[in-house]
Symmetry: none
Subunit: 190 residues, 4 copies
């Protein structure tokens, strides 16, 4: 009956938090985040009871955003290599398109303030990839390796590429290609 929580404000807060966390890490100040989101300091705590809550929800939101991005153009009917290449491309493009999201996610991934259980939930979002990879194992296209190892591998490679090629579009394209070769060499059988 009272004013409803505004999804708009929640988003503004998460967006502002993304930017601040991208540069200052988990040390980003709630005051700056609130101001950047255009709301009063206290309002932040209406939406996120605690700074840790904000950080954790941001972490999940970013993971989920990335997942959505990867799935958007996912080629359901492509072969294994095509599917994995799509994921690789998606990773790189997401990071290049939203550098702050990537930086924020990177910082949070290293932070003690994200609960272990949430870090797990973050991983779990990628469980959808299960099938592709399992299929790769069965058809013998991929070397058999534990799933977390494989997803960690993609993640690490993509992150490295984005980090290394930061602010350099040409290098980015070069590394994206090199990275794909490396990745495929790393996981394909033979």
């Amino acid at each position: 009956m009272a004013r409803p929580l505004s999804e708009e404000k929640r988003k503004a807060l998460l967006t502002a938090a993304t930017e601040e966390v991208a540069t200052s890490g988990a040390a980003a100040s709630t005051i700056k985040i609130a101001k950047k989101a255009g709301v009063a300091e206290g309002t932040l705590f209406v939406y996120f009871p605690t700074k840790d809550d904000l950080l954790n929800q941001l972490f999940l939101a970013l993971k989920s955003d990335l997942m959505g991005f990867l799935m958007k153009d996912y080629p359901i009917h492509a072969d294994i290599q095509g599917k994995i290449r799509s994921l690789w491309t998606g990773f790189i493009d997401w990071g290049a398109t939203y550098p702050n999201k990537r930086k924020a996610l990177r910082q949070l991934g290293v932070s003690e303030r994200i609960t272990d259980s949430n870090k797990d939930v973050g991983e779990a979002l990628f469980d959808n990839l299960h099938d592709v990879i399992e299929e790769g194992f069965k058809t013998g296209v991929l070397r058999e390796q534990p799933l977390p190892f494989l997803s960690g591998l993609i993640n690490a490679l993509a992150d490295m590429v984005l980090q290394t090629a930061l602010d350099d579009a040409i290098k980015l394209d070069q590394y994206k290609a090199l990275g794909w070769q490396a990745l495929w060499g790393a996981i394909a059988r033979k």
Copy 2:
């Protein structure tokens, strides 16, 4: 002549900083670091004029420590594959032996407070690898790729393995082996 700076205290401070940064990231407090090092709060600033100085010097010290570790048993007369495998093993072993050093380095690598020029200096420490790799290119053992790309690749893979296999010695060995296969697949020609 006044008492000279004590190398011992400097080291104690860096060691304490390593531990604090490992858990709290760049937000680690100078007070706690000083106390853990067994010196007074103000003493820290005799050795490091600024917290940022401390952080940057710690970053370099850790990179250098890692480098020293890698070079210790480096097989100068082995073939390319042997040399690179030694580096891989070294990376993993260093991280497993000094988890706090690795965690601290990881946190600092992501922090805004490490100057770009220092991040470059950090990379440069690995320039010694130039020769091995160039040799690999010439003999055709390695696919030709930019040096920073290659070192970033090793780094990223090793970090992923250590992170993923945290606190699980068995998994660590498994991943170390898998990681090596992946790495070699990623960089070897054909």
Copy 3:
């Protein structure tokens, strides 16, 4: 016609306030009081325009509640000593029966936020005792002393007994008896 204020909610708020004030003093938060009363934060301010209003009304309500308790079994036809003893017993029993009410009253009695005029009103509730005491003076049973002094005396003694014997039923009975002896010795002529 609009919905009228609900007496039930008002009471719930005062009851909740009693509990909160008992433990946190005047620093008790309106939010917690509202929640404990089962109403929304804003609703509290429909019934009490200001936190100070709430506190002051609570103060009066508690005084009045105590007064009612004292009068319930008041022996109108007893002699002076019997009447005063009844008051004494009543005081102690009220405090033992409703420890939160007593604690809250104690806290509020010390608080700056209760207006002086209300503290006087609080005292005035006991004016009904006028007659008993005047009678005591006339018949020479009581030493002549100003009324506020006498009521303050009873109050202080009872409060001390309750406070000292907190959570110890046996001690409470002992102190109740001792207190009565002391009180009577303090006020009776000769």
Copy 4:
């Protein structure tokens, strides 16, 4: 070797705290206390790590101050009645001379933030009175009653007198006398 803690500042802080607590109770703000003491906000926390520490130490300091005041002119060679009368007078005079100390002590006595163990220590300061009172019991001058009951009695009566006669010197003298009669009547045998 560094600047030593200044006893002067510690006292200034306790004095300032006394004044603030006298009017605002345990809700007194550390900032106001620091400012009133003429030191920076942070300095307060050099001397008292926590607001609760400040409050508890203030409580003990006030109790101790009162005790010192009572003992100053204590008539060691007087009879029981003389000794107790001296205590009574001392109580009243202390409260009249240092109204803020008394108000602060009153507020703290009711506050949840003073630990139970400190409240006990507070009581213990009065253990010195043991002997007088025991002597009173033996010689039959005093009715036999538990010590905490007796000290509570004196305390409560004195507090009531001071509170009731606040800001009225004439009334104060009158109540002081009446209070003594009442007290003696309350505790003396027969």
